[in-house]
Structures are given as structure tokens and as C-alpha cells.
Amino acid sequence: MARSKPSSSKKQPKRGVDFKKIKRKIGRKLPPPKNATNTEIKSKAIILPEQSVASERAGLAVSKKGLTLKELLQQTSHHNAKVRRDALTGIRDLVLKYPAELTLHKLAIIEKLRERISDEDKVVRETLYQLLKLVIFPALKKDVPGSLISLMMAYIFNGMTHLATDIRLMAFKFFDLVVQHYPSSFFMYAEKVLQNYEDILRKNHIYLQDRSKLKNALVGLVRCLSLLPCNRRTVDPSYGKNTETQGSLHAYELEVPKEHTDFSSIIKRLEDILPILVNCFQDFIPLVHPMSSLDAQSFDCMLYLLRSIDLSVKFFLYGIDKHQTDFGVTKPTYNEKDMPVWGEIATPVFLRKFLEVFPLNQLHNTSGKDEDKFFILNIEITEIFLHSNEWIFTSAILMERFLEFIENLLSGKIRFNSRSGKALQEKHLTSLLPFIPRLVSLVANTWKSRLLQAFTMAFKDCKPESTLNLAFLSAIEEMLLPSKRQGILLLDASEPEILDHQITWIRELPVLLVRLGDTLSSLSKVILHLLLRLGQYAPMNSSLAWEYDIMQHTLGEFYSMCLDDGSILYGPFMKLPKDCQELSVCCLYYFSSLDSLLLRSLVYCCLCDNLEPSVLFRIIDVLHSAYKIGHLQLVDLISFFVTLVARWKVLPGRLYTHVENAKKISNRETFKAITGAVCSCLRQMGDDALIFQIVQRVILDEIPLNPPIDNLCGMLRLLVILDSRPTKLSEQSIIILSNSISEYLIDAASYIPENGDEVTDSNQISICQYYLVPCFFLFDRSDKLLNLVLDLMGSSIGEDNSSLACNHDTQHTLDLSSRIVAVVSILLYMHQDIKIRRRLSSCKGEITRILQKMRLQSSNEMGNTLEERHKIQFSFDRLKIAAGQLNCWDADELKIISLFE
């Protein structure tokens, strides 16, 4: 305690030093602190020397008014509606002028524009709509970022729940626009959108006044619903598609997850929406009856309502079908009740009520336009009825009404009055026709015959170029043949009346085919496919098969027709594309006995230059196959083959002369291939001896007609292939043959290379062999033929050439000296062949005679120039040497010959 006291006394003076008290007077200003910041800002006005926009923004993209994109975007949220509208039009100008701006700033543009979706001003919205529709969406079509859509959708949904009805309806229009350009976006927002539709339709009486708006909204709904999957009735998918070009079949396949959307939520929404649609439609009905005319707006509304009902019904059916096919194979259908069938419970009641309104009719005022409108509405209702027919039990009276309507429609009792009516009617008929087969199979007998009657009439009246034909054909196919999915016949062909109709259809088919010509090859293809199916599936020995056989009389016209004056009129077959030709050729296979008349018209086609060789080979193939299963007479087939070989036109012209004759070369090659194909067919037929007899007879009929050298060669080949050694040729035919062969050999001699020792064109040698080898075979097999031929050759040298020229093809007429040269070269060529040389040695008499004749000719001074005589002399020497080599002349005979010298 004592210590602390001094310390306190010491500290007292220090306090004053630490905190010096500063005395200030009140009212005086304090000096600024030393570390104070100078906050004073000094500025000067900036004076731009020039304000002109044009010069400053020279490099920038600007609109007509000289505003940049940024400015325009800013202006879109201006409080003045007019400015906003101008900004939008400005953007439009700018984007049209500078498309690059859009792709660069698309996100910014959309972000700004979407705010205008729920703009209060009607004109602004309309301008925005036009801008999006005409400029922005088409330009952005290629790159669709999902983010863009979702950006828009937020505001669209906002608009859909807006208090102002105008804005709400407009929002639907915007959504329609989005779906139109990006269909997949519907499925992303389907539930919400449908919900909104439901809301708006529920309060329809509010909007009834403004029908055009409602119509717009409904258009959107129809578009959305048409995106939903449904059972598409295509003509026949199986022959339209081609197999995917997959490289290796066992390769590991990457499982691509298919775009799968969960339909369950959509189903629920649709179930809710369907009754509302029906109610909405019924609200319109009272409007219809009292009024004298139906205005266009409400008609459109009704039409779209019907369409949406139709589409949702279709969607439900699709769901049911899908369930059945998913389990159809593994699970029989008895547990149908367990399946959660889509929309099963709620819908039928509404629909039944709805269908009761049918038919919409206006009895009193029948102005043309209105009738058409009612007609269209009625057709739409009928379509819904037919779709739903499968799962609603309808009352008989209603059924009658519908059936009567359909009958009238088919028979044309109800017609459109307006000018465009024809096309419209066709369009609507096309949508109804696919239901006919099912309908016919289900309804009672009286109706069955009435419907079929109307159907057949309509089919007969249908013009060939009409698009309706396709629908008719698929309906006919369904009614004629067992269906692909079910494997059973829809109609019982044993009933005579149904059979009558079926026969009428079948008879109509070839007529239609001929009338079509080559104008609509796709339709021709469908008809041919139907014919093929008919041939395949018609039960054997049934009346349908019989009818199919009869059809070949009319089908001949399809290939070609021989007119009275001998000229040939080619049918549509020649002009159709190749796949159609192949199909029609395949049809031939199924005729249980091919008519010779049809074969004749087929031959004319085959002989035509324009026919592609591959089709020709197909015809040969198919006819041969048809023969194999007994659908074709042996004699008919052989005469077909021989005619083909005998008459096929080989274009004249030497093969080796010109390069530009490439086509001609291929032509001759084709003929060789034809001969080869015919030969192999003949060989496969079985009993060679019998076939040889027939072939021989047919060929001998052809030979006196002096066919060109190629054709004769082909025929000789046919004989050689079937013949055996020794020959089976009869005496008489040998005589006939020897006549033509001697001429043939002289013609062929021109192909013999001039000098056998020199290496000549290999092509020429092969041609020469091609011509001569069949003769050599014949000579080898028959000595008599050789003798006769040599005899004839000898006599041809001796005679005056003028008498020969008249009965010979003028083109190949040779003067005497060249004839002699030809004979000699033939003999020399034969001499080179070892087998023939042996044969030649046995007929020295003939050779001697030839030598003598030559001697005579060479000594004959008159009519022969010096050069010719020299040629003959030269040939004579060559032949003499060859004859000497044959070792068949003894010394005496040689002397006799030399005596002539």
C-alpha cells in the first residue's frame, strides 16, 4: 500500500503530454484533415463535332431507320406501343438484310422478343407473330437449340394463363407456331399444353363470339394431336421398303434408344379433353339449325373440333392396338380385361351421345355452298364413327344411317356442288375407303351386298389417273386375299354374290393396267403386285384361280398386240420401269396353263430391240420354271425358244472393224448369251431324244425363211446340243439342212482369216470358230450331210451365179470368183481340223468334182477378168496341195487332175 502512492504522484504530469487538449472556438471552421480525399469532380461538356448517325455506323448492321440491333431490342420494351411495333418491324428489316446478325445474336433476340408474347397491344403481338413466323423460325430451322424453345415456352405458358382472352388465344397461336417448326417440342410440354387447351375450351361460351380466335386455337390443337401416333393405313409397307444396307449381319449393333415418350399423362389429359370437345361441338349445333346459312368461321371451328375428336379417338385406338400386338404373340387375348386399356371407360359414352347428331342436315335452305359444308362435316363424323366402330356398340338405327350415307357417298348420289368439289370428294373418299373391307365383313348380309355394289360401281367409274385408285386397290387386296396380319380371308368367297364382285374386280385389273400405260408406274406396280399376290394366294382349283387364268387373255394386250396389218403394237410393258417388268414376268409363273396367245405377244416383246437383256433372261427363266411345274406345254415352250433364237435381230456389222460399234458388239454377245440360256434350258428338260424331235421340227419350219447367219448359227447350236452321235436327224431334214448349210458356210467363210499361218485378230478367229463349230459337229455326226454340202458347194461354183443370186440374201451375194475363194477357204479350214480331215478323206469324189469345176472356171476366159482368174488359180493350187495331204489320191487320179492343167 505504501508503495503505490509515490507511483501515482509521478504519473500525473505525463497525462498532459499524451493528450494535448485543443481548444476550439465554436463557429470556427475546422481545417481539413491531412489525409482527406479530394472528392471534387471537375467536368467539361463533351461536344461531339458531328451527330450524323450514318457516317458513324458505317460498319454496323442497321435497320432502315438507322438503328442497331441493340437499340432495336431495347426499344421493344418501350412503353409506347407504337415504338415497340416499329422496333419489331425494324428487327425484321435488319434480320432480312443481315442474316448473320440473327445467327450471332439469336439467344439475345429471342430473350428479348419473348417478352412481347403477352404484350397488351394487339398489333404488337401480331407483328411479333409475323416476325417469328416469316423470318426468325425459318432462318433458325437448321440449328434448334432446345434452350431457345424452352426460353419461349416459359412466356407462352405465361400468356396462356393471362387474364386477357386475346392474349391467351394469341399464346396458343404462338405455341402452334413453335410446334409447326419444332414438332418434338409438343411432347416435351404436352401435358401442360393440353391442360391449357382444356381450360380454354371449357369456357368456350365466352369465346363463341370471337370465332376466328377460337379457330386459331383449334388449329393448334389439331396440329398437336396429329403428332400423336396412330395406326397409319399405308398401302402396303412390305414392298415399299428396302432392306437397310447393313454391312455385316452379325456385327454388334449399337442399341439406339428410341425417342420414347411417356404417353400415360397425355392419355389422361386427352380423356379429360375429349368430353369437352364433344360439348363444345354440341354447343355449335343449335347455331346450325335455325340459321339460314352457316358462316365460314363457325364451320371451320366445327370442322377442327371434329378433327381433334377424330385424332384423339385414333390415338386411343393406337394404344389399344399396341397393347394387343405387344402381348399378342406370347399371350392370347383372354386377359383383355386386365389390360389398362387407354381411355376405355370414359370415352364411349360421350361418343355415343355425340354420334347421335348424325347426320347434320339442312333440309330447307339448300344453297350449294352450305350443302358442301354439311357434307364435309358429315364425312368427318362418319370417319370418327368408323374409327370408333371397333369398340362402341352402336344402335342399329344409327348404324343404318351411317351405312346409307357411305353407300350414297360411294355411288356418287351425294356430290359436291362447287367446282373444286371433285377433288375434295376424292380426298374424302380416300380417307373412307380403307374402312370398307372391315365394314363389309362385319355388317349384315343385305348391307354387305349394297355396300359391295356401290364399291364395285365406284371402282369401275374411277378414272385411271385418279389418286383414288390406290385406295381402291388396297381395299380390294384386303377383300380378295387373306390379310397379312390375320392370315384369314375377310370375305367368304363361297358366297356367289361376293364372288361375283371379286371376279369383277379381277377383270378390271388388267384393263386398268393397259389403260394406265406408262403414265403412273407406281400405280402400275401396285396393280402388278396385287396380281402377283393373287396368283400366289388364290387357292388351287378355286374360282378365283380360274379367274386368274382367264385374265391372261386380257393381259396379252399389256405386252404387245399384233394388229391386222401385221404390225406390232407394243403394250405398256415395254415402257414400264424394270421393277414393274420383273413383277409382271413373275405373274406369268402362276398361270396354271400359259396360253399360246399370251406367249406370242410375249415373243414380240422379247424380239423388240428396246427390251433390256436382263428382263429377257428373266422371261426365259420364268417360262422354264413354269414348264417345270407343268404350267406350260412343252411344244409351246420349245417353239417360243426357237422363235426367239430364229428371229432375234442381231445388228449387222463386223465386230472388229470399228470401236464405235460397241453397241453392236454387245448385241451379238447378248445373242450368244440367249442361245446359251436356251440351250441350258433345253438340256434340263429331260428326255433329249423327244425334245430333239420337237426342236428339229420347229427349226425346219424356220430354216426355209432364210434367217440371217447369226440366227441360223444359233439354231444349229440348238440342234447340236441335243443331237448325239450318230445323228438322229431324219433323211429329209438332212436334205433341207444341207441346202442352207452350204450357203451358210459360204457366208461364214468371209470371217475366216486370210492366212491361217499368220497371227490375226484373235477376235476374228473366235467368231469364225463360233460360226463353224456347230457345222463341224454336224458333219462329224453325219457323213451324208457332209457329202451333200460338198456337192452343193461344187454345183454352186459351176452354175451361173446370176441364178443363185436371186434366191439368196442379196446382201451376201458374191460373185463367182469370191464364191470360189470362199469355198476353198472353207475346205482348207475344215482340213485344219483333225476330225473333219478324217471325214473329208472319205468324200474325195466331191472334192475332185470341186477341183474340176474350178479348173473349168479358171480356163473359162469369158466373163472373168485376169485378176479373177489369177485368184481362182491361186485357190486351186492351195486346194490341190491340201487334197494331196489328205493322202487319198493315188497317182492315177492326181495325173487326171494335172491333165486338166
Binding site: 432392306t243 454391312g247 455385316s248 449381319l249 392370347p332 396380319r485 390375320q486 413373275c586 402362276y590 427363266d621
Partner: protein
């Protein structure tokens, strides 16, 4: 012993050659077979459907045993049978008729078990998938149908189902000439050839066309490489085309797309093809009556057999049991062995007999392995089986009675033991209590 058997539509008999040594075996006489109409039934005997002139309404199927050249059994079905096929153990023979019906016979009894209308036109070829659950048939109208044998015999199921077949392929426009299937049962691929100059590859699992290959000529026969990389297509122009299944073919070559080469011998048309079991030797029959054996690896001809002047239309490579070889040698000199020759089953029935379709008449044939003594092994009939089953049932009922007795006994014994234990426990308890009480008493005292 692996042998090649071949037959012809002209009467040349059935030729039989050892595939590896090339030695010709017995020739079985008087056979004019239809295309695809030769079958080896369970390696026990040969069967072939016969060509007949169109006037006769009934067909005929002949049997030959391995050991004798003469026809042993003749049967006459209701209509001409074209293709004939048997399952691997030889229990059933399936034939396709000219009216489009398919016949299903049981070999052991000869009964016609089922006849159903399969096609609109004559059936041209038949085969069973390698697990023998599916039957695939091709017809003159170009239609190919896949049948499940389960479904075929399930009458109720047939009625319930939309269609009796599993698949119906109608993409061919003309007659189906041959078909072959890969491995994998119902997941296999099948290759079909048709007179429309195409071969088509189908998937059995997905039921759709995988590939269609155009050939320059009509394909009469197809054979599938065991690795399923390629298939061989014997054409009417005498070539055997090799078409790829698994390789990527980028450019089309001279023959056409997917065709990678040919085996060619300048012969007449190829009519039939078969692969040996080792998958290397390819046997082809030709129009000119010869049978060529090719090495599929080197594309060379290994051997040529000559059957007849007429065309060959069936070639099979089968495994022939060795005992029959021994038998033939015995047969030649001893009449004793003739008695022991394997009995061939009775001829095939003409109609489905619905009258005696009661329960008892159903016979079950038990397939025999060829190594077992086939001569003395009779077929076990249904009666025997039912007897055995009933015996089994009786046995089992007696056994359960015994079991119950035994259990009852056990139960009684257990109850007794429990009783004993209970007594023991009571005694012990009493003893303990007494002891404790006694102690207390002594202490308090």
C-alpha cells in the same frame, strides 16, 4: 463313318460314298427322288419321297436299311410328298405335300400325327431349326413360313392365336428353291434361295428380312459356312457363288453386291449343296450327274463321284453307324445275320386317324442311340410306360403309409421321452427345494 449319299430324279438309285476315303459303298436301288426328298432317319435308315407321274393321286415314300440295296418298306401317303425331313434322333418324319399341306409322322408306329394346311401351293423345302423347335417351310408361291412345333400340336392355342405360324415371309416372288439355317435355334438366321434370282437372309428372332442379294443366275441350293461368315449358293449356271454375310462389302464387284467369289468347274447347273460335319468339305450335286467335293478353304475340287447320267438332286452328308458296315460283310455270306437285320418301322399312315385317338393308343417311341444294340431293342410302348407310372404311384402310396407309421412311432416315443424328462425335472425340483429348505431349517435351528 461319314458318308455322302446322293439321289437322282432318274432311276439311278441312291449312291453312297465314304467322304474321306472316297470308296463307294452300297448303292440302294430304285429311287427316283424329289428335290429335297432324301432323308436319313436317325442314322438308322434312309427314306426318300418318290417322284410319280402326275396321274397318280397318292405319293410314295420308300425306306432302305443301311445293309440292303432293296427297298424294304413302301408307304403311300395321300398325296405326292416333295420335301422330306427327319429330326436328328429319327423319331419323326415331316413331309411337304403338293397341295401345300405338311404331314407329320411318327416313325416308330407309322402314325400320321398331324396334317395341316401350310401353304397355298406345293411345299418345296423344309427344315428344322437346330434346336428342333421350329419348322421352316418354303413353297412354290415364294412364301416362307416358320412354324413352332409346340403351336402346331396345341389345338386350343392355334384357335386362339391370330395365325397358326410364327412368321410368314412373302418377299420372294417365285418358287423357293432351298433354305438353310444358322446356329442358335430360334435366334438363328436363315438363308433362302428362290427362282427370282435372289437369296434373302432372314432373322428368326426379329422376324424380318435382313438382306437380299441379287445373283446373276437362279440359285438352286444354298449352304451356310459353319462360322456363318459366308454362304455358298449353287447356281443354275454351274457356278457356286460365295456371298458374304458378315463382312463389309464396300464396292460391288463383277458379280454383284455382297458376292465375293465363286467356285467354278464349268459344269452344268448346281442342284444341291451340303457341308461335311467338319465344315471344310463342301459337297455339290450337279445337273450332269456328278457329285463334287470341294475344299471350301482352298476352293479346289477334292473328289468327284459319278452317280448317274441324269441330274443329281439330293446330296446329304451323314454319319453312318459302323455296325452296319460289319453287317453288310456278314450279310454277304451268311444267311444267319439276315434274321438279325434291323427291323424297319412300319409304313407311314395315310390319314390322321381320329377314331382311335383315345388315350391308350398313343405310343411313345424311345430313340435309340445307334451304338446300342439296335437289333434286339424293341420300342417301349405306352402301355409299358403307363404300367411303370402306375407302379410308381402305388409304390409311393405304400411308402407314405410306412412313413406315417414310422413318424407316429417316433412321435409316441418322443412323447414318452418328454414324459420321462418331465418326471425327472419334477423330481429334481423337489429335491432342490427340499435341500434348500432343509438347509434353512438347519441354519435357523
Amino acid at each position: 463313318m461319314e458318308v455322302v449319299i446322293a439321289s437322282s430324279p432318274v432311276d439311278a438309285g441312291i449312291g453312297c460314298w465314304d467322304l474321306h476315303s472316297g470308296a463307294e459303298q452300297l448303292r440302294y436301288r430304285s429311287c427316283t427322288s424329289t428335290p429335297h426328298g432324301l432323308a436319313c432317319v436317325g442314322q438308322r435308315f434312309l427314306a426318300s419321297s418318290q417322284l410319280r407321274d402326275s396321274s397318280s393321286s397318292s405319293g410314295s415314300i420308300l425306306y432302305w436299311s443301311w445293309s440292303k440295296p432293296q427297298v424294304e418298306v413302301k408307304s403311300f401317303p395321300a398325296e405326292p410328298i416333295h420335301p422330306l425331313v427327319s429330326n436328328s434322333d429319327g423319331m419323326y418324319i415331316i413331309g411337304g405335300g403338293s397341295s401345300g399341306a405338311i404331314y407329320f409322322w411318327e416313325v416308330a408306329s407309322g402314325r400320321l400325327l398331324k396334317r395341316w394346311h401350310a401353304h397355298y401351293r406345293a411345299v418345296t423345302c423344309l427344315f428344322l431349326s437346330d434346336d428342333e423347335s421350329l419348322l421352316v417351310s418354303g413353297a412354290e408361291d415364294g412364301c416362307i413360313r416358320v412354324w413352332s412345333l409346340f403351336m402346331v400340336f396345341d389345338d386350343i392355342g392355334m384357335e386362339m392365336a391370330k395365325n397358326p405360324y410364327e412368321y410368314s415371309f412373302s418377299e420372294h416372288t417365285l418358287r423357293v428353291t432351298d433354305m438353310v439355317s444358322g446356329y442358335g435355334g430360334c435366334n438363328a438366321i436363315i438363308v433362302s434361295a428362290s427362282e427370282d434370282r435372289t437369296c434373302k437372309v432372314w432373322s428368326l428372332s426379329r422376324g424380318k428380312l435382313l438382306r437380299s442379294i441379287d445373283f446373276p443366275s437362279i440359285i438352286e441350293a444354298v449352304a451356310l459356312d459353319p462360322g456363318e461368315h459366308v454362304f455358298y449358293a449353287g447356281a443354275r449356271d454351274g457356278k457356286i457363288y460365295i456371298a458374304s454375310i458378315n463382312a463389309e462389302t464396300t464396292s460391288s464387284n463383277s458379280y454383284g453386291k455382297h458376292i465375293i467369289g465363286t467356285l467354278s468347274d464349268n459344269s452344268k447347273g448346281v442342284t444341291c449343296l451340303a457341308f461335311s460335319k467338319d465344315g471344310i468339305l463342301l459337297v455339290s450335286g450337279s445337273e450332269d450327274g456328278t457329285i463334287r467335293v470341294w475344299d471350301a478353304k482352298t476352293h479346289n475340287i477334292v473328289r468327284i463321284y459319278r452317280l448317274a447320267k441324269g441330274p443329281v438332286n439330293n446330296v446329304l452328308v451323314v454319319r453312318r453307324p459302323l455296325y452296319s458296315n460289319r453287317q453288310t460283310s456278314e450279310n454277304s455270306h451268311s444267311s444267319f445275320s439276315r434274321r438279325h437285320a434291323p427291323l424297319l418301322p412300319p409304313p407311314l399312315g395315310k390319314y390322321v386317324n381320329s377314331t382311335d385317338e383315345n388315350v391308350d393308343s398313343g405310343a411313345v417311341s424311345v430313340p435309340q442311340t445307334p451304338s446300342s444294340d439296335i437289333m434286339d431293342a424293341p420300342y417301349l410302348s405306352y402301355h409299358v410306360l403307363t404300367k411303370q407310372i402306375s407302379e410308381l404311384q402305388q409304390q409311393s402310396s405304400a411308402a407314405t403309409g410306412m412313413e406315417v407309421d414310422r413318424l407316429n412311432l417316433d412321435c409316441k416315443r418322443s412323447v414318452e421321452i418328454v414324459q420321462k424328462w418331465k418326471e425327472m425335472f419334477a423330481y429334481l425340483h423337489k429335491f432342490c427345494v427340499d435341500e434348500l429348505l432343509g438347509n434353512d431349517q438347519t441354519q435357523t435351528q
